[in-house]
Symmetry: C2
Subunit: 300 residues, 2 copies
């Protein structure tokens, strides 16, 4: 684990980026009173439910590592947050994971009903593309590239595939390879896409994009392994969502398959690989490094 | 009602375009065996459930009116069909319209379960943007424009708004103005978007785009009024979906509010307005004219 970035103030970085993202999301999303008010209330309820804004933060950190500006990265940061939030709303539905709480608040369908929750997810997914289309493009990274990046990371071969495999894996005995397949899609795909979009917003070089891809892939996997660990070791109050859920529904997780100890080792190894990918930035990726370290040590 | 296009063979046009669209959709969608197979089977089940391909057809007809090629219009035609199919899958869910049959076959959730049906809709919506990003762009109509066109027609102010208002209107006494609000969004928005995208794929002039917009708006409204009429006058066998549904759930419709006779008059007036918008094409819009006439006279 690197310790070189002790001087970087991650909390200040996260607080300032979260505020920027929240302000931008507030501008991009139709107001609460815009007809039909129900759908805009429902979209905003979940978008502003106190999420950690981890994907936008890592996107903005990647943009900074490539010398980009926050302003040019913000639309893409909002787009990935809309995708992430839509996927949570739909994953929480009774027909899926059937969760009553998320981020310490009742889930969207508990407040607005299932029909509106499905539609709020649909609208946020659609909104993501509307926002992304308004980002700045470059000769090297056109709107075509940006849209394809988001659509592929979110589609039936990645984000949706992860949720399907997760759903179908419940109660079954999965191998570590099966679990890796799920994690790559359920979590790593959108995180990796976020990191890449950050680079693209800064007109990064192809070599930088390749490094960011390696970084994003490994951080994404580490992130999900840690999520599995926290589900076993933390309480619902600490997590702000139902803890012990994975065990209750016999969901295959790293702790269940290889044990807690080895799961922690895997998370550390993945994070180390992520750090390795950042060498190309020669110390300019301080925010990315600090974020990866934070994600590994988080307790919720 | 115009009768000038008696020589145009609409059936041949529809058959040939449906075949092109089906072949293109087959190329764009991941195969049935692509992992996870369930989601790709579910997506393909609804995409190839025998839909009329009315939106792709009208998009291709608009492209032809502007001198464009089928090849350049096809990706956008497939994109709108993915949007349309996703919206049907989600609308049919128990939490929404709760329909067991669609196009004469069991609805997606009846075959694959609710969880997969939600995800198949999500995946098709995402796929639409992936496909649209692969369409040809022009200096006048960039990928940014194409994506914004689709996202806005499908988002919380249009397609999703129509479904929300429809859901919230059940069992309530609605005015003709309320009903018009719903129809504009539930049906007209995506039809109008399809017609516009056809023009954009052909690098149409701004004047042509304005004419297509007028045409699409009015045909879209006429289409929905006729849907309401058919729900009252036809049997489930004739429609391939549950007839009399609107009355059963006390859904506000034109026949319910203004009666059958006046509903038919409104549909004719809307179609006439649509025809009026086509004058600018000086007889080059034969396919669009024939389609509009067909949509008014259809019995299913």
């Amino acid at each position: 684990m690197p310790t070189k970035n002790k001087s970087f103030d991650l909390n200040a970085f996260l607080a300032s980026r979260t505020e920027s993202v929240n302000r931008a999301l507030d501008r991009f999303l139709p107001g609460e009173k815009t007809r039909p008010a129900t759908i805009h209330r429902a979209m905003r309820y979940s978008i502003f439910a106190g999420g950690k804004r981890m994907r936008p933060a890592i996107l903005l950190a990647a943009a900074a590592a490539c010398g980009g500006t926050e302003k040019e990265a913000l639309p893409l940061a909002c787009a990935v947050e809309c995708i992430h939030t839509y996927s949570l709303i739909h994953d929480d539905l009774p027909a899926m994971d059937n969760d009553d709480f998320r981020r310490g608040k009742p889930t969207n369908h508990k407040v607005f009903g299932e029909g509106i929750a499905v539609l709020a997810g649909d609208a946020l997914l659609t909104q993501a593309f509307e926002i992304a289309a308004q980002a700045r493009s470059w000769p090297r990274y056109s709107h075509r590239d940006l849209i394809l990046e988001i659509a592929r990371a979110s589609g039936s071969l990645q984000l949706v595939a992860g949720q399907v495999a997760d759903l179908e894996g419940e109660g079954k005995k999965l191998s570590v390879a099966d679990l890796r397949y799920i994690h790559e899609r359920k979590t790593s795909a959108l995180l990796c896409c976020s990191v890449r979009l950050g680079g693209m917003s800064a007109n990064c070089t192809p070599a930088q994009l390749a490094a960011l891809t390696q970084f994003g892939y490994h951080v994404g996997l580490a992130f999900q392994v840690i999520d599995d660990i926290l589900d076993v070791t933390q309480t619902s109050e600490q997590l702000g969502k139902t803890a012990g859920k994975d065990v209750a529904v016999q969901k295959a997780t790293y702790p269940a398959i290889v044990g807690l100890e080895k799961s922690r080792r895997i998370a550390t190894q993945l994070t180390d690989k992520a750090f390795g990918a950042l060498k190309i930035f020669r110390g300019q990726a301080v925010a990315l490094e600090a974020l990866a370290e934070y994600l590994l040590k988080r307790d919720k």
